[in-house]
Chain length 191, copies 2
DNA sequence: CGGGCCTTTGACTGGTTTCAACTTCTGTGG
DNA sequence: CCACAGAAGTTGAAACCAGTCAAAGGCCCG
């Protein structure tokens, strides 16, 4: 299963199996059951997660008490509150398992030590963040460009498996609309 | 003036002045007048910009013909359509100078060569992207969490100089509301 | 089989946009 | 240095997208 992480690293930089064995020692493998909270809003953001299997969700709770999802992380995605992690501050967000999940976790200190020991990994993380940043730019574009209805249908067509895996109220929370309105949208065009 | 770029790199990694001199040869210094377009939507995204002085804006035009700003870049910010740049595809966005600006530009090929020659810079860009990604996460949070009115006042209080430098219709375009409504919001509480 | 969570439905509300007209600012040429 | 045209900002009325609230129905899992 760690094999998968090895391959992901090697998509962006080159490391040997020996190196990987040592790299692995900086991480912990953890399993979380569905709905378990990995990171609490308001507590020190000290952990960076890599999803081996399953699905994580990062969200915050707005004034009205509704949960707003910022991101999902499926297999081979990294997830944390990056600003808080960098600055070792309290996180603004919660991270929760959407499904039973298996993740790699590394704390801030270890990530720093890891990058000192293996500068090659700077290239790996540069690529990971560059890509994630690009994706975040596109997310902002979609939010502004599309109506809620268009957001849903675009999302559904682009990530059909997501619709299968994730309950509808979480899709609504990710797209930024209410479950009621999402329900209404779906009934308008049944296609 | 390049001094400033040298300092910025050294905030995140360590390079000597000799190295910097060579690094500099990979870039071009360019000046753009106010309102000049640096990058066209629909054309190959081949350039990464670093703002030495001035202000750039990245935007797209929605179906109704309104321009929606994705990001501003002030001094010491990098700007491009990152997904398109990575994949060497057509950009979804335009980049335009908001003020008379002085920028460093590097094309994709040169950036690759630069990073091969100076692997130390992977660390620099890792940090740049990590930070930018974190900022983009927060942006999404604000968009969902705040009403348009709250967005404006929060933005105004957090970046007062921005309000000075940038015309109001661009602020509106960045915050995702109409100039008319922004005008109304301002008149509601004159403080 | 039952309870709680998820989804659906409908009526009402309001924040925000749209459109159009008017006013103010800005910069460029005479 | 003034005049004027175009750009930017303001104001108000009408329309609408999407949220809120409440209640009923469906479904999963113990």
């Amino acid at each position: 299963m760690l094999n998968q992480f090895f391959n992901h690293i090697n998509k962006f930089t080159e490391i040997s199996e020996e190196e990987f064995t040592e790299i692995g020692t900086y991480f912990e493998v953890r399993k979380y059951g569905k709905k378990v909270v990995l990171m609490e809003a308001g507590s020190l953001c000290n952990t960076h997660y890599f999803v081996l299997k399953g699905c994580l969700q990062m969200y915050f709770t707005n004034e009205k008490g509704a949960e707003q999802t910022l991101q999902f992380a499926l297999e081979n995605w990294w997830l944390t509150d990056n600003l808080a992690f960098r600055q070792q501050r309290k996180s603004d967000f919660c991270i929760q398992a959407v499904e039973n999940s298996k993740v790699l976790s590394i704390d801030f200190k270890n990530q720093e030590l890891l990058l000192e020991k293996f500068p090659k990994l700077e290239k790996y993380f540069r690529n990971v963040f560059e890509k994630a940043y690009g994706a975040a730019q596109m997310r902002v574009k979609y939010i502004f460009d599309y109506s809620k209805e268009e957001m849903y249908f675009t999302f559904r067509d682009q990530y059909p498996e997501f619709i299968q895996r994730v309950p509808q109220y979480l899709i609504a929370s990710f797209l930024g609309l209410t479950p009621e309105y999402l329900s209404e949208i779906k009934s308008k065009r049944l296609s």
